[in-house]
């Protein structure tokens, strides 16, 4: 996201607490579909959403222990990305060249961030705020920004103090572009703000933005 001349490759891909150990979820970074998963011991990985064997989306797969398995043929990849088992050939040691394609991922302040491999700058800081929720909108990031003139752009999204859901809140909306004109908002708010009121305020906001987009 380009923000006031500064460029960061980090894009928020979810809240840490929503990707618990043993799950895989879809993600997206600059038009690239991702599989984001957390191993049994808590290691988080973001990979291109494609098994090199037959192109199946890895986000449809399953996590066992420290590996992510493809749902099509059960090929299993370790946290280092290397294929470590091919169930059709249990005695075969898979060649080292067979591997999932990894992007960089990091977690800070309860947010999951993804960037292109080896090209990320410093993580956008959202220190002092608490993760609230993620919600998808049928709108582009610019349309969301236009609906909230009280917020200012920063690397990763929008932030500032606004009145939402009837209360004043320190709001931070991390913006993630999805396919087909949708945007995922990962919202954080001030530690003293009423999370239920802010959450309802976000739903009202979604309705008004989507109605504006449709009109």
């Amino acid at each position: 996201m380009k923000t006031g001349g500064r460029v960061t490759n980090w894009v928020a891909n979810g809240l840490s607490r929503d990707v618990v150990a043993g799950v895989v979820v879809p993600g997206r970074w600059q038009g690239v579909d991702l599989a984001i998963w957390r191993s049994a011991t808590g290691v988080l990985r973001a990979w291109k959403d494609r098994c090199p064997h037959r192109g199946m989306r890895l986000s449809h797969g399953f996590v066992r222990g420290e590996g992510l398995s493809c749902i099509y043929h059960g090929w299993t990849y370790g946290t280092d990305g290397r294929c470590r088992s091919i169930p059709a050939h249990p005695d075969l040691v898979p060649p080292a060249a067979i591997r999932a394609e990894a992007l960089d991922c990091a977690e800070a302040d309860g947010v999951i961030w993804v960037a292109g491999a080896g090209e990320a700058g410093p993580l956008p800081a959202v220190t002092g705020l608490v993760p609230l929720r993620s919600l998808a909108l049928h709108a582009l990031p610019g349309q969301i920004a236009a609906a909230l003139p009280g917020l200012r752009l920063f690397p990763g999204g929008l932030r500032g103090v606004v009145v939402l859901g009837g209360i004043q809140t320190s709001l931070c909306l991390l913006l993630q572009e999805l396919a087909r004109g949708q945007t995922m908002i990962h919202a954080l708010c001030g530690p003293q703000d009423d999370p239920v009121a802010v959450s309802r305020g976000l739903e009202d906001l979604r309705r008004s933005i989507e109605q504006g987009v449709a009109a």
Binding site: D33, P52, H53, Y72, H73, I86, P87, H89
Partner: protein, 282 residues
């Protein structure tokens, strides 16, 4: 531009028994609108947008047409004529994928434990042993033989796990037939086919069809079983990237278990049957 070799093939378009009078079934073939109907004389006809009739064959309970000039007869399945078999039309499943990916998935056994869990396969019985693949010179078909796999419930008439033997056959670019151990009649084969109608390069209608030795299972249960299997396959087929089938090596990684798929892809490429295929690695 669609290659002539593609246009000269036969494609399934409808179940003959369900084909009604004009306007009949309005559908698509190779991206073109097409209509299948029964005329006043009761003859099933297939017409393109301009109203011209296409060559038609009625076989295996389905209506087949050729948008170009047929170079050969539609393939046959001699086993289908054996007395005592039940022929079952299983309806249609629309899948947002390349017609070639649908055929390739049908030829694949290694996915049984993961996609058809506890039905056609189950862990830890995941190993695919060595089998044989060849091109039959006389008929120019891809064949895989001596394919063996452990299955928890290979068919409606099966009770408990059995070691099932398969043969696979690709007699046309968008059709595949399998022969599998028949639980009710050891020594005989159940025959199951999929006839794939290419609506576009990335959209197809799949017509499953069976010729079984099974006098017991109700028709509805047989169709339900086959529909369940194909809906499980659809969850895979609509989530492969890219949607087109890559014919050039490098884009995807085959293993020994994929020998049938490798032969099928080479056969398509050699014959120029590239509708639904991706030729250059992305």
């Amino acid at each position: 531009m669609i290659p002539q070799a593609v246009q000269d093939c036969w494609y399934p378009l409808a179940m003959a028994a369900l084909t009604g009078p004009y306007p009949g079934r309005a559908t698509q073939l190779l991206g073109q609108p097409i209509r299948v109907f029964r005329d006043a004389a009761g003859t099933i006809r297939v017409q393109g947008d301009a109203g011209a009739d296409l060559p038609v064959i009625l076989r295996f309970g389905h209506v087949w047409a050729c948008p170009g000039t047929p170079q050969r007869d539609l393939f046959t399945i001699p086993e289908a004529d054996h007395p005592g078999r039940r022929l079952v039309d299983c309806g249609v499943v629309r899948v947002k994928c390349s017609p070639l990916r649908a055929v390739e998935n049908f030829l694949d056994i290694a996915h049984f434990p993961f996609v058809h869990t506890d039905i056609l396969g189950a862990e830890p019985h995941t190993e695919v042993g060595r089998y044989e693949v060849h091109i039959r010179e006389d008929t120019d078909e891809v064949w895989a033989t001596k394919v063996r796999f452990h299955q928890p419930q290979a068919a409606m008439s099966a009770e408990g796990g059995i070691e099932t033997e398969y043969m696979y056959r690709v007699p046309a670019p968008t059709a595949a037939v399998l022969y599998k151990t028949c639980p009710a009649r050891p020594g005989d084969w159940d025959v199951i086919g999929i006839f794939v109608q290419p609506l576009t390069e990335e959209l197809c209608d799949v017509w499953p069809w069976m010729a079984l030795y099974d006098d017991v299972t109700p028709q509805a249960a047989l169709i339900q079983f086959q529909q369940m299997i194909f809906l499980q396959d659809r969850s895979i087929l609509e989530n492969q990237i890219p949607r087109l089938l890559p014919l050039d090596p490098g884009m995807e990684i085959p293993t020994q278990a994929d020998l049938t798929s490798v032969a099928y892809r080479r056969w398509l490429k050699r014959k120029g049957l590239t509708y639904g295929a991706q030729m250059v690695a992305a």
